[in-house]
């Protein structure tokens, strides 16, 4: 089949997560809220996080929004990967994911589910799709004031 070389990009797990995401929705209560946006295509990710009482650890994370298979699967896999992590640990994962999109190393065994996204690095125009949720997460975690309203979009336009 002529489209066979796309199976590296559209791994079964990506298609499955796109079809039936595990983490779609909103957490309750919401401690951090951040919307991410790709202005060029209109894709949006609406990310909500619940933190522990010390505000140090991600207790739960969910997303809503509309986007392509790559963007939504990436958001869904991300939520699994960072749930239960401390904020510094989650930020490290963000960096590592963005590095993988630039052709960097795969994730070790514990987070190997994220390696399903590695094929995206071969499709430069789609890296922005994969990074959308991660970019929003970084903003959600780094903002000095805990944002519960998530009123502003963060644009994913100038990141790689």
């Amino acid at each position: 089949m002529p489209l066979d070389n796309l199976r590296g990009l559209y791994q079964q797990v990506i298609l499955e997560r796109y079809k039936k995401p595990h983490n779609f929705g909103r957490v309750d209560p919401v401690h951090r809220h951040q919307r991410g946006h790709n202005p060029s295509c209109g894709d949006t990710i609406d990310l909500t996080l619940q933190l522990d009482p010390s505000q140090e650890r991600i207790v739960d994370i969910k997303f809503e929004g509309a986007g392509c298979a790559i963007a939504l699967a990436s958001a869904d896999l991300m939520a699994d990967a960072v749930r239960g992590r401390t904020i510094p640990e989650a930020l490290q994962l963000v960096e590592r994911f963005q590095a993988m999109m630039r052709g960097g190393e795969e994730f070790p065994r514990e987070q190997r589910a994220l390696n399903a996204m590695k094929g995206v690095a071969q499709f430069p125009v789609r890296i922005k799709c994969a990074n959308l949720a991660w970019h929003a997460l970084k903003y959600a975690l780094e903002s000095p004031e805990p944002q519960a309203d998530g009123s502003a979009f963060v644009s994913n336009e100038n990141t790689d």
Partner: protein, 425 residues
Amino acid sequence: MAVSPLSSFKLDHSFDLAAQVRSDFPILQRQINGHPLIYFDNAATSQKPLAVLQAMDHYYRHCNANVHRGVHTLSNEATDAYEGAREKIARFVNAPSPQEIIYTRNASEAINLVAYSWGLSHLERGDEIVLSVMEHHSNLIPWQWVAQRTGAHLKFIQITPEGELDLEHYRSLLNDRTRLVAVTQVSNMLGSINPVQEMTELAHRYGAKVLLDACQSVPHMPVDVQALNCDWLAFSGHKMCGPTGIGVLYGRRELLRAMPPFLGGGEMIADVYWDHATYADIPHKFEAGTPAIAQAVGLGAAVDYLSQIGLEQVHAHEQRLIARLLDGIQRIAGITVYGPKDPARRAGLVSFSVEAVHPHDLSTLLDEQGIAIRAGHHCTQPLHRYLRVQSTARASVYLYNTLAEVDCFLDVLAEAVEFFSAALS
């Protein structure tokens, strides 16, 4: 000649335009991902024929100098080339005088010029600007600014379920406070062709001015500003076989003369003192600074190229392609097509969505087979919201595309839809 309706053009099926012109476009020889390029993103920008590339190359090699500045031979030649192109463009859209053709960077700048120069100086609180829901962002954002600064109101013409402008609704929006109607002649998302001649006549009855966004019409069909009787008409060079970096604003002479300058600098002046200046006559009043000379020359060559073929031929060819494309695409299960279903009522572009498949994913699959389409909101976010679709895919054709390419696109599209529906079922 008026542009609507267009079905009156003679379709000459014995003349295959694409077969005659394909070899003029070097880029069409390219392979993309191991497949011959099928370029179906012409509504975003067109490819360039050799004649245009050579005209710009010749200009830089043989005539390069600044225009309107020197008395030396080269400056004179450069000025002739630059102003000669203006005359060609004026004839191309049947403007009464080349003075009414203003060079801009692109169509967006042409519309911004009218908004800043005319809009800010002529509109006031309570005035009304009529736009349509199908406007490209470039014919929306400048008017939002004008409205915010002057207190004028924006009104939007709705569309029918078929995706055409609702003329009844348009009539109901016009009144004595209407100062401007700014609409697109052809929708870059729906492909519908608006009856702009009739709309202009209606607007003029109320004393309103009319600006037409002709980005998707001038490259593809005959456009005659005198027949349309519009006050301004904006289009870009790069969508009509010309280079990027050059666009055109046609404006009625007396209107342009009454408008204040937009940008200040060299070229646009008559006399300059420490504290004030007087300005050049049109068109130069609106062309501050060293202009895009090579690009103007390139656009002149593009106009020559298209004129030689004839815009009736280009339009007839595109209608054949789009009839086949529309027919085929509607046979693929799960596809929604936007805009008129009758190919005679639309231009050479089709936007569509596929159930459960995001246009980006679709576009990546098509690109793997060498097919270039557009995926996203096509700079019409409010229209997508209005149609309740997040984003769409768009295939758009031009004179060099072939029926064989349409068939190949339809095959690959069906296969891509199958790929996803199998994986997602």
